[in-house]
């Protein structure tokens, strides 16, 4: 009796979470679905049309590339700095921690406004370029990458590993290659997947920073929504697939962190 009472709200909640997704999938496959409760018939026509649309491959490719670039930029900024900090253990690390939280106080539209207002006056040539968008997305994903790597570094007690390696007479490049990097692989992978998702799903920043001059996948979706609902539905399914893959990857990686003890290779 108690189980049923508890499972009913869970079932209703699951229904609420699934229904918009099912409706989107049905609309992507529907011949016509305007005045009826369920679609009148099914077709693969919209999928074919979406894939053929010139903007589809172009914007999808751009967004994937942008996400990868953003992750690379963030990791190459964050990993060296955090490793140095972990080894040297300075007392002012909390300042950098606080700075890395800044993006949480700046939602997409605020970040976009801040960047455009500031660089519009100082370096106007940057406006509307993918470079500014890359930097904006790197800023957006910074806390995610920073905390994923930092948590991993804390979990492996890098400082102790570093001193142990030092006692064994290892050089710094050996320490970096055989001690540090293998041990923070999972943290870096989590950072990469979550950072990529932040960039890929962003609409607000990309819409204002580059807009139509360098269409990303989600900004294109914003346009297509008002033009062709069926194609919009197909692109939504693509977003859903990307979200599902990245989310399941993250869950898998989080499990790996729990079971993995620090180890050194080589």
């Amino acid at each position: 009796m108690f189980r049923l009472a508890a499972l009913t709200p869970l079932g209703l909640m699951a229904l609420y979470l699934i229904l918009p997704l099912v409706a989107t999938l049905l609309f992507a496959l529907a011949t016509r679905w305007t005045t009826t409760i369920l679609p009148e018939g099914f077709t693969l026509q919209w999928i074919a049309e979406t894939v053929r649309a010139s903007r589809f491959a172009e914007t999808l490719g751009r967004s994937l590339l942008l996400g990868a670039a953003v992750v690379l930029l963030d990791l190459s900024l964050v990993v060296p700095a955090l490793v140095v900090l972990a080894v040297r253990r300075p007392r002012w690390q909390f300042l950098l921690d606080a700075a890395s939280l800044l993006p949480y106080t700046m939602p997409g539209v605020v970040l976009a406004l801040a960047l455009i207002r500031f660089y519009g006056e100082t370096v106007p040539a940057l406006l509307g370029t993918p470079w500014l968008l890359g930097a904006a997305h790197a800023a957006l994903a910074l806390p995610i990458v920073y905390w994923a790597v930092l948590n991993n570094l804390k979990a492996i007690r890098l400082h102790e590993l570093y001193e142990a390696a030092l006692t064994c007479g290892a050089r710094w490049d050996q320490i970096l290659r055989s001690v540090v990097l293998p041990n923070i692989r999972t943290g870096m992978a989590i950072a990469a997947v979550a950072g990529f998702t932040a960039s890929f799903t962003d609409f607000a920043v990309a819409n204002f920073v580059v807009g139509g001059s360098w269409l990303t996948f989600s900004v294109w979706q914003g346009y297509i929504m008002r033009m062709n609902g069926h194609i919009m539905a197909v692109t939504s399914i693509v977003s859903l697939l990307v979200t599902m893959v990245t989310t399941l990857l993250l869950i898998h990686l989080a499990r790996e962190t729990k079971s993995a003890a620090p180890h050194a290779r080589g």
Binding site: L17, V110, L113, T167, G169, W172, M225
Partner: protein
Amino acid sequence: MILTPTAMGAGRRPWPALRADGLAIALLVLFVGAALVAPAAALFRSSLMASGRPSLEVYTRILMAGGYRRAIATSLALAATTATLGSVLGGAVALSLHRAARERFRGLFLSLAAVATNYGGVPLAFGFILLLGSQGAITLLLGSLVGRQIPVELVSFWGLVLVYLYFLIPLCVLTFLPALVALRSELRDAASVHGGRAIHFWRYVGGPILLPPLTASFVLLFAHALGSFTTPWAIVGGGSDLTLMTLQIGFLFGEAGFDLEAADALAVMIMLLAGASLLIYRLLMSRVARWLG
């Protein structure tokens, strides 16, 4: 004297010279400064200027003027409503998951919740329009059940509440569930051994343990809702008098291109509110960590 490894290693210089260390940190600091601190500071500065002089004029103006004032009031009401509903419903869902669900079902449900929090923006708004728009499946279904047209209005305050909850409830579940570990079954047993009934347990034990993490989730949801732009943009579009701070900012500098100082001031208000939320969240979570540790 005891030689620590550091002291022994110090002479051998196994780490590159200080210069490389400094470089690694400087690059990160430089990026944070250029991409976040300087632009944010510029917003503060320009929102506090009026015709070249420091002044609070912009703020008094947007707090007085009808459109901006309405946007601020609606944004705050929407964030407060969705955060309240989101944390209450999310808390209930997390509690049910914690107590009743089998391991396998819980994992499945949490995966769905994680996908739902990440699946937002334009695609989500579109999914809701398909269900609850004027020709939406549920709108038509309800209409045929009742036998007349049902006026479901997705472009409304409560319409936005319904859509926001889609990503806020799962967000609450995911942040609140780990805190439920502190609600060990021994506590309940101890309470009942001492003659406490369910109401006593919740009043003196369960409630005080769960209130800080639930408040933390509330604050997180509030900041998240306040900063949301894409979802309301896609749902509301143009041509409605429903307006929010984020929509106003987007309109002012994305389309209109005038009164940018007002956009700056609205943005600064969002930053301050989000910053305060973040601060409260971290304070509460450090208290929660003590309970879990």
